[in-house]
Amino acid sequence: MSGWDDLVTTALLGTERRALPESLPPAVGRLAVARPDAGPPVLDAAAGYVSYLTAGARPAACPVPDPAPRQVIDLAPEPAQALLRRLLDAGDAALVDEWLAECGERGLGVRAGSWTALASAAAGSSGPDRSLVRTALGERGLAFLRLNPAWRSVLRPPRSAGGGAAAGDPTAHPWSDTSTRQALDAVRVTPPLGRRRVSVVPPGAGPHLQQVVADADLGAWRRHTGLAPGPLLDLLRSSSPEHVEVLTAGFAEAAVRQRHAAWATALARSGHVTPELVAVVPGDDVDALALSWGGDGHDHARVARWLTLLPAPWSAVLTDAGLRLLASARLDARAGRRLGLVLGHRAALSAHEQAQRTAGQWSARPAEGTRASLAAPPGLLEAAEVLARRVEIRQAFGATARTEETP
């Protein structure tokens, strides 16, 4: 190569400064006919050299790469694979999750052609669920993941659920008898008979009081006051509104930790809703709550917010309440869209036709599957659309849309 490098150096510096090299192969050197101006001979020699090098180049030997593990799982059927590609292209992580869950349930895998897109999506911060991705990739796909440092995050096991210290394992966070005593001393229901009220001693206890209440045994309140959670909260609200916020927060924390269904239900009914608390409320009670919502007296945006906090799978009652709320057209675009998407993902698949029907009322040309020409209330089309995609996923795996039993 030194002849070529010499030639390049001459061209780089210019023939005014450097002569045509002598080290050229004879066949190339012959092309460089000497003349007063050395520019063209350099180019002639270079042209010959380029062909000489191109035609003579031989690829270098390379060791055999390490073999990868065989794929032991069967692949999902072709229509499902094609659907996954579309979902990945659309960037809809929740539907990709749904697809992956269905795939995992059947013990099937994703074809190699989609590994790159799936891995890249899962490496993103709002991508599909990483453990579902790992399952669907199979042994061979996992070996593939390990090759690219950019996908390292997909290989990591999930962080423990909940993240913070407030996660609800009652054995890990037992209430304290000391706190229970302190709480019962601080929050009193007096007098035992007659016109009762809740009072706090000393008044204005603040964050410390909330903590004491949160650490106390919830069952103790009924034992000491004779009041069920609902009536106790009602009494608190009517007689001591200045303490409602602090005490309710303390009760709610305790209800989550102690997985106390009655307290959780009473708190939810009183309007205190967090995802953790709602998870403790028994399904029937959630349904009963949902049935009581939706009247004119309710704050619709607030009900929508509550609904979005309820975990999957939604019962028929909840789904119905959600669809009615969407169809009432009382939500703004943002709240409606959010509820529609949540409903689409959390409702049972059997709700698909109901959602389609409800949305269809606004559609001018439902036969062509076009979006409505009269603006449908926000969220309704989204709900129907997501449900339709979910049904499509089941069908792509070769199942008719199963009518799932609602919990």
Partner: protein, 423 residues
């Protein structure tokens, strides 16, 4: 279409008059803010290779908003069937048969014209030759410092001299001014241009095949008709890969085909400027039974589809070769056409990831030899498919590395959509 578009469309529809369509031809008059309506026509199918539009509005956007509106109305079923007015028929004839004008030229006149052109090219290339010598005398470092300006100026001169192929080679120069090996890559390109200048001087003495290659590299025009008049090569042509190249004004597409019986490779080129769409009539994943007509010249792959007798989905198995065999084939190609930039090939082997970050991917043939992949190639889909096991990959073997374009036997399966942005 979004929910709001229906009322919008109703408003739009009110501005149109003299609407009609027939055989994929749409036309209408649009009354906008100007006193006179704009006359708009769109050709959506027929013999033209891509959609064509025309409009009397001053907008330089193609298609203009009136053409888009006309298409929307048409797709909404609001354009009635009608007989096209004269100006629309005339326009259609022009876009359908653009290469028809001087049909019958007297042979003597044609020869005289050709000689004039060759003389004009010769004068231009002589001027270029002096410029090339100057660059090497002053040194490539000075050329690089000058950047695009002087190179583009020389390229414009070559367009004037009716040597657009040479202009293209010049315009590709500044892209080589980057990277550690820029002096070698720049010298390589200058040398190939000089070789073309020298070959053109001896055009009349060269073997006719090579002379055709030189003419085509310089940019002498070859009419569609003359190519289609050349002998047909009928075969089952498997479409194995394609690549779109986005230049700043022009998008071009190369579609690679391989004849099942002949083993011959062919490339179909199409170009689109100003937002027009590329030819999509032949794309990877199908096999067409067709007459192909090759452009003249040694080492020539470029062809046109004459008659298509049929097509089936899928491509047959194509035996892949090792890296050493492919290198030999490139040698043969360069011997036939020293300016050849790429060899179409099906490689049988496996991709090998770089040893360290930022290193280059290799493609290791089953013969144990490896070629680097072209820098910037998205190699992960290839790796997923192979994971060390041999696969067959169609692609372009270039001096700088291998550009994979499609897996066999499913060229479209791993969603290879190769797009190269130049400049």
């Amino acid at each position: 279409m979004a929910g709001t578009s229906i009322p919008l469309m109703a408003r739009e529809a009110g501005r149109w008059s003299a609407l009609g369509h027939r055989d994929g031809l749409l036309w209408g008059s649009y009354l906008g803010s100007a006193p006179d309506p704009h006359r708009t026509s769109v050709l959506v199918e027929g013999s033209a290779r891509s959609r064509a539009t025309t409009c009397s509005c001053p907008s330089r956007q193609v298609p203009c908003k009136h053409a888009v509106s006309l298409l929307q109305l048409w797709s909404a079923g609001q354009v009635p069937d009608a007989s096209p007015p004269d100006h629309v028929s005339t326009w259609r004839a022009a876009v359908s048969h653009p290469a028809k004008p001087r049909r019958t030229m007297h042979p003597e006149a044609a020869a005289k014209r050709a000689a004039q052109r060759q003389e004009r090219v010769r004068l231009g290339l002589d001027e270029l030759d002096v410029w090339l010598g100057d660059q090497v005398r002053a040194g490539l470092a000075a050329l690089r410092r000058g950047g695009y300006g002087p190179v583009d100026q020389m390229a414009a001169r070559m367009v004037d001299a009716q040597a657009p192929g040479v202009a293209g080679m010049l315009r590709a120069l500044p892209a080589r001014f980057v990277g550690d090996d820029w002096p070698a890559r720049t010298l390589e390109q200058l040398a190939l241009i000089r070789l073309l200048v020298a070959a053109h001087r001896r055009l009349d003495d060269l073997p006719s095949d090579l002379a055709e290659t030189v003419r085509s590299r310089v940019g002498y025009p070859t009419s569609r008709e003359s190519v289609l008049a050349r002998p047909a090569v009928r075969d089952q042509w498997a479409v194995l890969g394609h690549v779109d190249v986005v230049d700043y004004r022009l998008t071009s597409r190369r579609v690679w085909l391989r004849g099942e019986r002949s083993g011959r490779w062919a490339v179909l080129l199409s170009f689109a400027a100003g937002g027009a769409s590329l030819d999509s009539t032949v794309l990877p994943g199908v096999t067409i039974d067709a007459d192909l007509h090759f452009y003249p010249g040694a080492g020539q792959h470029r062809a046109l589809v004459g008659t298509e007798h049929g097509r089936v989905d899928g491509v047959p198995d194509v035996p892949g070769v090792g890296a050493r065999r492919a290198a030999e084939q490139l040698g043969d190609l360069v011997a036939a056409d020293p300016w050849a930039e790429r060899l179409p090939v099906v490689l049988h082997g496996a991709p090998v990831p770089p040893e360290q970050d930022g290193g280059r991917w290799l493609f290791r043939g089953e013969d144990g030899a490896a070629v680097p992949l072209l820098p910037g190639v998205e190699a992960w889909p290839l790796m997923a498919r192979s994971m060390g096991d041999p696969v067959d990959v169609a692609g372009e073997w270039t001096r700088r590395g291998f550009l994979p374009l499609g897996f066999l036997p499913h060229p479209l399966d791993p969603f290879f959509s190769v797009e190269v942005v130049s400049r």
